[in-house]
């Protein structure tokens, strides 16, 4: 089953850059192959490599006309769309450095990154980004121009800092007429060791840090990954996760440009799931929350289905789980199970895969956070080859992954070629590879802490098991010490609980405390539906979360999970939070990782309530709305014991 070594891309040298590879591929495929597609006005519109190249050229030269020089920084913000990728590629072609911001970043975050990075240009999508930029321009003296491409709602804007992408491209074409060789010259000037991306990591603790990544870092990462899982130019990939996440860069840029597969951009973020189904990608990489949502969707549909459909599903899943477990434990699958599984596949699994947009999937990965074993087993049961990836921004994406046929759901697999992974005596995971970054921008102290003798210190605790697989326990500072002194990973509990469709987020507490407790955020849609079916009336998330029936529902789900846990690790008390965790309130990072130190401080009343004999806690906090407004919430929360 292994396809190792079958990928033969361009060898990565110190001279090769992403733009050079881009230019080669463009010439190779020109108007014979579709480079990307975007769904626009209800239709998939193809963009050939020729168009891709010419658009990038026009934007790059347009940026030069605005005064962009080698080493200058360009910040980008907005949804995934071809123009975004063109702007990024154009920046690299000029020899500039690209910076990506999450499209939902609040003003302060945008200002911090643009100011700290000294970005000269900002490329935004439409009105929302333009508004953000106009609000911060006075505080970011280095910022020269803001580019935009969607005119909707911008009719009344006349600030001279604004310029449309169309105007930029016209400027670029003029410059090309005057100096036809300029674009290629700029590309040829690049060297592999030049910085191409300044990547601000979300950081679960402090201010964002800007990791400097070179062309060589990005390209070696892609090439080493494809030694394990080669991708082909006939493959389709759907780009819908934020470009500000290294995982998306690694697929769309590092691998995309080397393998030459077709990138597909959804119509709107809301239509992504539907558009994925229309395309049926061959390769997919997403954080666990995407897969968790898929499982939740299926579980909810199951609850709604007719009796016969439910029975068919139950039977097919039973067969699927059995076969998946045999494969996990590398035991042979007997012929009659193969037959049963074939039937289950035809009757149920195949249709589930189709609905999830996974009907043609060959390689699918999860990474960026921990995924629970139950979710993992689910995907293998329906015949989706889901693999775990481990990596970080500082190593240009990934360093460790599962190999086909050698998947253990409690590990993240083995290092990719060219990568060494070791565990320090303290238990920290460290790695070395050509893709390790060169340092943090303007942060020498952090750089020396993360980079020692060429080794990248991850801040994660883990170990290597007897099969040579890496096991990531948790962030070192998050590992809990239970009452009896054993170490325990809170994320393990959390991911297990998230398998319940009713639970969206969990925060497990228990470090050096008498027992483990949890703060639960219910899934509004699913629990709301359940409440309606029980004739419970509610008006808001806060109200729903505090209803006694909902508490009982959550209690049962926790008790179910407690069943297979060692007694000390069982959740004893819990609280239903009156709101969901939200990056706008700093409770999650933009990649939706829980910022424990922050929530511990913010919800210290709840924590003390969970470890007291009272059955209520009083809360008094503020919440931030998407437009930056702040509201104060005063409420009483119930503390419930999970008996049994």
């Amino acid at each position: 089953m292994s396809r190792a070594g079958s990928f033969e891309g361009t060898p990565i040298t110190r001279d090769l850059t992403i733009p050079k590879l881009f230019s080669q591929s463009a010439r190779k495929y020109w108007d014979k192959k579709v480079a990307m597609r975007e769904k626009e006005f209800g239709i998939w519109v193809p963009i050939t490599w020729k168009q891709y190249y010419e658009n990038v050229k026009a934007i790059a030269l347009g940026m030069v006309s605005l005064g962009l020089q080698r080493g200058d920084k360009v910040a980008m913000i907005g949804d995934n769309r071809p123009e975004a990728l063109w702007a990024e590629m154009a920046t690299m072609c000029v020899g500039g450095i690209g910076i990506w911001l999450f499209q939902d970043s609040l003003i302060d975050e945008v200002q911090y990154i643009i100011d700290h990075s000294e970005a000269k240009l900002v490329v935004g999508e439409g009105q929302e980004e333009v508004d953000k930029c106009l609000m911060i321009k006075a505080k970011c003296p280095k910022l020269k121009k803001m580019l935009w491409d969607d005119p909707k709602g911008l009719r009344g804007y006349d600030d001279p800092i604004l310029i449309s992408l169309r105007e930029i491209m016209a400027l670029g074409r003029d410059l090309d007429k005057k100096d036809p060789g300029l674009f290629q010259d700029m590309i040829m000037k690049g060297k592999g060791d030049d910085v191409c991306l300044l990547f601000y990591t979300s950081g679960t603790t402090a201010l964002p840090k800007g990791a400097l990544l070179t062309h060589y870092n990005m390209l070696t990462m892609g090439s080493n990954l494809m030694q394990v899982d080669p991708y082909f130019e006939t493959d389709d990939f759907v780009s819908y996760l934020p470009f500000a996440w290294i995982g998306e860069q690694m697929m769309s840029i590092s691998c995309g440009i080397q393998a030459g597969f077709t990138l597909n951009f959804p119509e709107e973020p809301e239509t992504a799931q539907e558009n994925i189904r229309e395309i049926g990608p061959h390769v997919m990489f997403a954080p666990p929350r995407i897969y968790e949502q898929m499982v939740r969707d299926i579980q909810v549909k199951y609850l709604d289905a007719s009796w016969s459909k439910r029975k068919a599903y139950e039977w097919a899943m039973k067969v699927g789980y059995h076969v998946a477990d045999l494969k996990f434990s590398k035991k042979p699958v007997r012929w009659h199970w193969k037959v049963l599984n074939g039937l289950a596949y035809l009757g149920v699994h195949k249709k589930l895969k189709d609905h999830l947009g996974l009907s043609r999937i060959r390689d699918t990965y999860t990474g960026g956070a921990a995924m629970g074993p139950d979710h993992f087993r689910f995907f293998h049961a329906i015949g989706v080859n889901l693999k775990q990836i481990y990596g970080q921004t500082e190593i240009a994406g990934i360093s460790v992954l599962h190999r086909d046929g050698d998947i253990k759901f409690d590990t993240v697999g083995k290092p990719i070629p060219g990568t060494e992974v070791k565990i320090t005596p303290e238990g920290e995971i460290i790695s070395k590879s050509p893709s390790v970054f060169i340092g943090y921008y303007k942060m020498p102290e952090e750089t020396t802490r993360a980079l020692r003798d060429g080794w990248l210190y991850s801040g994660d605790t883990g170990f290597i098991d007897t099969d040579g697989h890496l096991v990531v326990f948790d962030r070192t500072k998050d590992v809990m010490t239970l009452g009896d002194g054993t170490k325990f990973a809170p994320q393990y509990l959390e991911t297990r609980l998230k398998f319940s469709p009713f639970i969206k987020d969990v925060w497990a507490i228990g470090d050096r405390r008498p027992y483990v407790a949890a703060v639960v955020c219910i899934d509004y849609a699913v629990v709301g539906k359940w409440a309606e079916s029980q004739n419970l009336v509610y008006t808001s998330y806060s109200e729903l979360s505090q209803m006694p029936d909902i508490y009982e529902l959550v209690r049962k789900e926790i008790a179910k999970m407690n069943h297979d846990l060692p007694p000390l690790a069982r959740v004893k008390q819990f609280v239903n939070l009156y709101k969901e965790f939200d990056p706008d309130d700093d409770e999650l990072t933009r990649t939706r990782k829980l910022r424990r130190a922050f929530v511990e401080e913010r919800y210290k009343d709840i924590v003390s309530g969970l470890y007291s004999s009272h059955d209520h806690v009083q809360m008094d906090t503020t919440i931030t709305y998407e437009d930056g407004r702040v509201a104060r919430i005063k409420t009483d929360l119930r503390v419930m014991e999970v008996a049994g």
Partner: protein, 269 residues
């Protein structure tokens, strides 16, 4: 769009009675091309009756209505629609069992030229015509109202706020010169109200639309924020007309809203 001096819609002294109930008593108004003209008033003041008279659902017993200089008193609703008068309803009047796209397409029906026979053969011109109309719907309506994600959904399954948006989409499919909006904000939550107010401004101001809007609405915050001129009705009579500040300060209007005076000043922020 800049408001012009040109009067697009003129209602002249109309009377409308239902049995013994006088719904409109000598109401006159002039809507200028390119403006957002709002009609306010307490419940039962005759606002919806007035809209029904303008688009032809009711025939007033007295008075005249002129649209773009032509008298339209005798014209039936579909004829007025063909002239470019479109509307939405206070209570949603969509075809709940069909998709969003089909509902919008229906609003476009008036512009289809192909007949029954060429439609059943569906070649050449007919197919091209359909593609053109679909293109218009996608580019100018679905994109504007941000309903890409529901275009193939069944209308009856959608939440109320989105149904309101579909209702507006269908009214726009007519490519109207003037659009009558009957309480487009009723029953919406804060976020949906903000979206809808933005859409109304877009329809009024975007270069491709520049449509005159006649708005019947209770949400004073939005009415006072986006209207060029406001008219107040009470018991079928006009009690005030002017710019938002003028109407807000009018003692008669305050009296009509008796006890709700402060409502006139409350915006949603």
């Amino acid at each position: 769009m800049a408001v012009t001096k040109e009067v697009q819609l003129k209602v002249d002294d109309i009377y409308m009675a239902f049995g013994g109930v006088q719904a409109l008593m000598g109401v006159s108004l002039e809507v200028r091309k390119g403006e957002i003209f709002s009609i306010i008033g307490p419940n039962g003041a005759g606002k919806t009756v007035l809209l029904n008279c303008i688009n032809g659902l009711y025939r007033p017993q007295r008075g005249h209505i002129h649209f773009e200089g032509r008298e339209i008193d005798k014209r039936r609703p579909y004829q007025r629609a063909r002239m470019g008068i479109s509307r939405t309803f206070q209570k949603i009047e969509l075809f709940k069992g069909t998709t969003v796209l089909d509902n919008i397409r229906l609003g476009r029906h008036i512009h289809l030229k192909s007949g029954l026979i060429s439609g059943s053969v569906y070649l050449g011109k007919t197919a091209r015509e359909e593609a053109e109309h679909r293109d218009f719907i996608e580019r100018e309506i679905i994109n504007l109202l941000e309903i890409e994600h529901i275009r193939d959904k069944i209308v009856g399954m959608l939440p109320y706020g989105l149904q309101k948006r579909v209702e507006l989409a269908r009214a726009l499919a007519l490519n109207p010169k003037i659009i009558l909006l009957d309480e487009p904000l009723a029953g919406l939550n804060l976020e949906e109200v903000e979206d809808m107010a933005r859409f109304i401004l877009d329809i009024n101001e975007e270069e491709k639309w520049q449509t005159t809007c006649v708005l019947v609405e209770h949400d004073m915050g939005v009415v006072m924020d986006i209207s060029h001129r406001v008219m107040a009705l009470n018991f079928g009579e006009k009690i005030a007309e002017g710019t938002p500040p003028e109407v807000q300060g009018n003692p008669e209007v305050i009296k009509a809203y008796l006890g709700e005076a402060e409502d006139l000043y409350v915006t949603r922020r």
